[in-house]
């Protein structure tokens, strides 16, 4: 590794030492303590080319570009979330203003399980920090920027997938432990995106026991060729570290060295920490190795002190399964334009889907019905009806009209009408309009008297 690979790296580090989801929750004050200890003790912040930055606090506008928080952003989102989101925005600004070549946002809490509609917290996530960063980038630095997100957290990045489901400007690749064996139970190869972004969602479910070998195989054989095709303006790595062999919540066998190699190969512009709860055995070493790799420094000795060697070697049948999955996805990518979308989304004017979403962290059940206009010009409006209940409590019903970027006038008019109609319709407690192109967010609450 020569000095020619040296990159200037901005580290946005915010461990929120005074905030936890609850006192015994894994998403706790202590989570990044040992990472801090390791980074400082290694002297990484004194290395020329690595500089630490303080996060800004995101504002509600920046969150409302991505989410529809029910009943309201201020009631759902805490200051800690706004700092985590603000940290990703800081990271993006550092890169786009040229202050650094790459930025690494080591923040908590994580965000990739947060969907567009937010009733509360699921998978330890309330708002989607990466998505907020992406919308900030497109709003500030150009709506036409092509963005690729590679999510390497052991859990499926279902929230990010949901947010960019029908967004052709974002390529979302999630590499995770097979949903049949792990929360949130989704992320299969047949989840490939909405009617106007079909093929832009790529899910790589890996069998339990996948290690560095499998992860790097996916990267080399699938991710890098796809990125070469897609030609993104910016590559984001959602760097969850719960694929580590020591993670208590998952069954993957990735090491600090494996993660650093992945980082070197992927060469992301922006890296955002997601999950990872082996706070002593994994995070200090993975984060240090990742930072070294981002800076183009020698990471070969950044290994876990308890490195188990052969014990975590990937078993042959795991390797076979990884190869099969990758083979299937390679074919899917190559033939993505040949797919008969009519067979998947119907031949009508509107595609409709219904889902039930469980918020494990807050114990909320959400029932969602979504309609997307199948427009030949733009990616079409989306109309989402969402009812959420906590235990035996009242069901809160919300409706949201989403107007995509680069919308056609017909869709825009229809969306306005939909919003007006929703306002008049009984049964919705809250009605929202999110207009990405015009950066407008409207919120209406039904007066209790008109019920």
């Amino acid at each position: 590794m020569g000095s020619t690979n040296r990159k200037k790296v901005g580290l946005v580090f915010f461990p929120a030492f005074d905030w936890a989801i609850s006192s015994d929750h894994p998403e706790r004050e202590e989570r990044l303590l040992y990472t801090r200890d390791q980074i400082v003790e290694e002297g990484l912040l004194d290395v020329p080319g690595i500089e630490e930055f303080r996060p800004t606090v995101a504002d509600e506008n920046q969150i409302d570009r991505v989410h529809v928080c029910v009943p309201s952003t201020s009631e759902v989102v805490t200051k800690s979330h706004m700092i985590a989101a603000g940290g990703t925005i800081t990271a993006a600004d550092l890169v786009f203003t040229g202050q650094v070549d790459r930025a690494f946002a080591v923040l908590r809490p994580p965000g990739h399980h947060a969907n567009r509609i937010v009733h509360g917290s699921r998978g330890f996530c309330t708002i989607n920090t990466e998505a907020i960063m992406v919308e900030h980038i497109r709003h500030t630095y150009g709506p036409h920027l092509r963005i690729a997100i590679v999510d390497t957290d052991a859990h499926h990045g279902d929230g990010t997938q949901d947010i960019f489901y029908n967004d052709p400007g974002v390529l979302h690749i999630s590499i995770h432990q097979d949903g049949r064996t792990l929360y949130p139970g989704s992320g299969f190869t047949n989840e490939r995106g909405g009617p106007k972004a079909y093929g832009h969602t790529i899910n790589v479910p890996l069998p339990p026991g996948t290690g560095d070998e499998g992860l790097l195989y996916v990267l080399n054989e699938l991710v890098l060729p796809i990125l070469a095709d897609y030609q993104p303006d910016i590559v984001i790595n959602a760097a969850g570290q719960d694929n580590h062999y020591s993670d208590p919540l998952t069954n993957m066998n990735v090491t600090a060295q494996g993660y650093a190699q992945l980082t070197e190969l992927l060469a992301p512009d922006l890296v955002v920490l997601e999950g990872g709860y082996s706070i002593e055995g994994a995070l200090p070493y993975v984060n240090a190795a990742l930072l070294l790799a981002l800076a183009g420094l020698d990471y070969s000795q950044a290994v876990e002190p308890d490195f188990p060697g052969d014990k975590i070697r990937q078993r042959p049948q795991v390797t076979e399964t990884v190869k099969t999955v990758v083979g299937e996805l390679q074919n899917m990518w190559v033939s993505r334009r040949d797919v008969d979308l009519g067979r998947i989304f119907g031949e009508g004017h509107i595609f409709e889907r219904q889902r039930s979403i469980y918020y494990d962290t807050d114990g909320i059940v959400e029932e969602q019905k979504e309609q997307i206009r199948l427009c030949s010009v733009c990616s079409g409006w989306r109309f989402i009806q969402s009812g959420a209940s906590r235990g035996f409590g009242r069901t809160t019903i919300a409706a949201a009209v989403l107007i995509p970027r680069h919308v056609c006038s017909e869709c825009e008019n229809q969306a306005q009408d939909l919003y007006e109609a929703a306002l008049k319709k009984r049964g919705f407690h809250y009605v929202y309009l999110q207009d990405a192109g015009n950066d407008i967010f409207l919120k209406a609450q039904r007066k209790s008297g008109t019920k």
Binding site: F13, F17, W19, E29, E30, E41, E42, D46, P284, P305
Partner: protein, 625 residues
């Protein structure tokens, strides 16, 4: 007996220590050019003096300064000596330190070759993790072998530094023990041994390496100096105690300076900041201290009466250290700075096309008013009559000539240069605050409700301060104060400084361990369930007091917790213990000093006046700072 009662007893002890006899304190700062001395008693400056420094004769310079300040006084008065020298600083900057054999125990992590330390490190196997657990043992045969290699060259110092040794010093201690054993059997040993954990309880392995290396490299020199000082001052002079000034503005005993000589680096700049802090009138307001010299201007910051420190430690030459140091920024702007005319860029056509001046960062030499060749900001001030210095006519002619070339009359040119000076200074001060206000913080509370550090007062030092500080204050819309004795503020600061000592306590109730690296202490917690934050604080405070006693600190009243962290440890949805990190310090406060009675009212917000009736040489000195 429980810890609370013990604490009480100790409190008693320190109040007895309060009965210190008041005596004269003599502060001496041996700088590169001048040696300054200040004598204070009962919080008032009695006399100041300035003599030229004789290079490589620090003792002579010290004596000369001492004699000039004690001239009028009784030579037999008992006094306490506070000494600041550039001995270690220069040895490091000029790379004149002694050879040091450095043994590092890095364990896994960044490769030591990537650290670019500027000295060689021999690597030992063995490693400690972030909680102070031993992960890999030392190989004693390898240690012996390496030590033998180090001892091949005669008269070499030894530095031993392990990663995370501040959490568990056992490896460093083990290496030292082996080195000692070898002395008895094999060689006459290393000249000096520095162990990383004893020099700092803070994290940062590369900085700990550099700190220990530098400590060992200047140890012989500092010991020699201490010998001389002891010899000279115990003979014939009535010196009660001798202290040396440190980079954090505190003092240390002569004895301790033999063990931790690296802490005496950069004591000169620290002395000036402490001097400003002790001489200013409104001591508790947020203050920016601006010391304007000929070549550079130093900017330091006080918040609520306390100086701001470097985040991790002093930086000296190419080395980043863990030596506690006051925060200061130096910019290339001063009374003798070069004056350039900025060329208008093309897209500014049509806008106000009066030339823009840029000052510094180079120094051109003495001002024209004092016989120099090129105009300086000082000449602009002299030309306008803002400063009485040298030949005003000469300055005015030079400014007129300079202005003529760029189409400005003399007065406008001079005013523009002064304006540029104030602008650049203001920008630099704002950048300092911008930097300090955006330093990383790690809690939601600190991020959302940051401490107000913005200055309400500018304190000016240095010759050009009288001209520029009031203007800077006006531009920033805050109060200002020019200090008396600014020429000797460093010596006053040295005299006013008090001893400091800090300890770092790390307790881990899950492992049942407590360490205080600076004190070589690694103990066990007997009652892990009952060990709480109060006990952690109490223990840290006690260790700080113990540390203070080691350092001959008699005034132990003011021990403060300066940093504190405590964490619940959660494993598998259960609390398994707590981790505490407490730093306790004997406060590095300054004695409050006044110049003379009634001075304060006269000088605060007063119009700058220049002292007249001095010889030209003296004035030049004054204006250059």
């Amino acid at each position: 007996m429980g810890p609370v009662r013990k604490f009480y007893q100790w409190k008693q002890l320190i109040s007895n220590c309060r009965k210190v006899c008041f005596m004269y304190i003599l502060g001496i700062d041996v700088g590169g050019t001048n040696t300054d001395a200040a004598l204070i008693k009962d919080g008032a400056v009695q006399a100041v003096a300035k003599v030229p420094t004789k290079h490589h004769h620090l003792i002579d310079s010290t004596l000369a300064a001492l004699d000039s300040v004690l001239q009028e006084q009784d030579k037999d008065i008992p006094f306490q000596l506070h000494l600041s020298t550039t001995l270690s600083t220069n040895a490091i900057i000029e790379e004149q330190g002694d050879p040091v054999f450095v043994l590092g125990i890095p364990g896994p992590g960044m490769r030591i070759e990537e650290l670019n330390l500027g000295f060689d490190v021999e690597v030992l196997t063995g490693s400690i993790d972030h909680r102070g657990r031993e992960v890999a043992r030392l190989n004693s045969r390898e240690v012996r072998q390496k030590l033998a290699e180090g001892l091949v060259s005669k008269d070499v110092g030894l530095a031993v530094v392990g990663k995370f040794s501040h959490r568990n010093p056992s490896h460093e201690l083990e290496v030292k023990k082996i080195a000692r054993e070898m002395v008895n059997t094999e060689t006459d040993g290393f000249r000096h041994i520095s162990l990383g954990h004893r020099l700092s309880g803070l994290p940062n392995f590369p900085r700990r390496l550099a700190t220990s290396f530098l400590n060992a490299s200047v140890a012989r020199r500092q010991a020699g100096f201490a010998d001389m000082v002891e010899e000279l001052f115990t003979k014939g002079r009535n010196v009660k105690r001798i202290y040396l000034l440190k980079a954090d503005g505190g003092t240390m005993t002569l004895k301790d300076s033999r063990v931790r000589p690296v802490e005496t680096i950069l004591s000169g700049p620290a002395a000036s900041i402490m001097g400003a802090g002790s001489l200013m009138t409104h001591k508790d307001v947020n203050t920016v201290i601006v010391d304007i010299g000929g070549t550079t201007t130093d900017i330091a910051v006080q918040v609520g009466g306390l100086p701001v420190f470097q985040r991790q430690g002093a930086e000296i030459g190419r080395h980043k250290t863990l030596v506690p140091a006051l925060f200061a920024r130096s910019i290339g702007l001063g009374g003798d700075s070069e004056v350039h005319v900025a060329h208008e860029s093309k897209n500014h056509i049509g806008s106000n096309n009066s030339p823009k001046f840029v000052l510094g960062p180079r120094r051109v030499g003495v001002p024209v008013a004092l016989g120099g060749e090129k105009i300086t900001p000082t000449d602009a001030a002299v030309a306008l009559g803002l400063a009485a210095l040298g030949d005003q006519k000469r300055a005015q002619r030079a400014i007129a000539e300079f202005g003529h070339e760029i189409g400005l009359d003399a007065k406008t040119a001079a005013k523009s240069i002064i304006g540029a000076f104030v602008n650049q200074l203001k920008t630099a001060v704002c950048e300092v605050y911008q930097y300090l206000e955006t330093r990383p913080v790690y809690t939601v509370t600190e991020l959302l409700a940051p401490k107000d550090i913005r200055p309400r007062l500018i304190v000016g030092l240095g010759g050009p301060a009288e001209v520029f500080i009031p203007m800077l204050a006006k531009a920033m819309d805050i109060s200002w104060e020019i200090l008396p004795h600014y020429q000797e503020a460093n010596a006053v600061g040295a005299a006013a400084s008090r001893p400091t000592a800090a300890v770092t306590l790390h307790a881990d109730t899950a492992l049942g361990t407590v360490t205080v690296p600076e004190m070589d202490y690694a103990g066990e917690i007997t009652d892990s369930r009952g060990f709480n934050i109060d006990q952690a604080r109490l223990q840290a405070t006690k260790w700080a007091a113990k540390r203070g006693k080691q350092f001959d600190i008699t005034d132990l009243e003011d021990i403060a917790i300066i940093e504190e962290e405590s964490f619940n440890m959660v494993r598998g949805f259960h609390r398994t213990g707590r981790i505490f990190m407490i730093r306790a310090q004997v406060r590095p406060g300054v004695r409050r000093v006044s110049a003379s009675k009634g001075w304060a009212d006269e000088h605060l917000q007063s119009k700058p006046t220049l002292r007249r009736g001095q010889s030209q040489d003296q004035k030049q000195e004054e204006f250059h700072g």
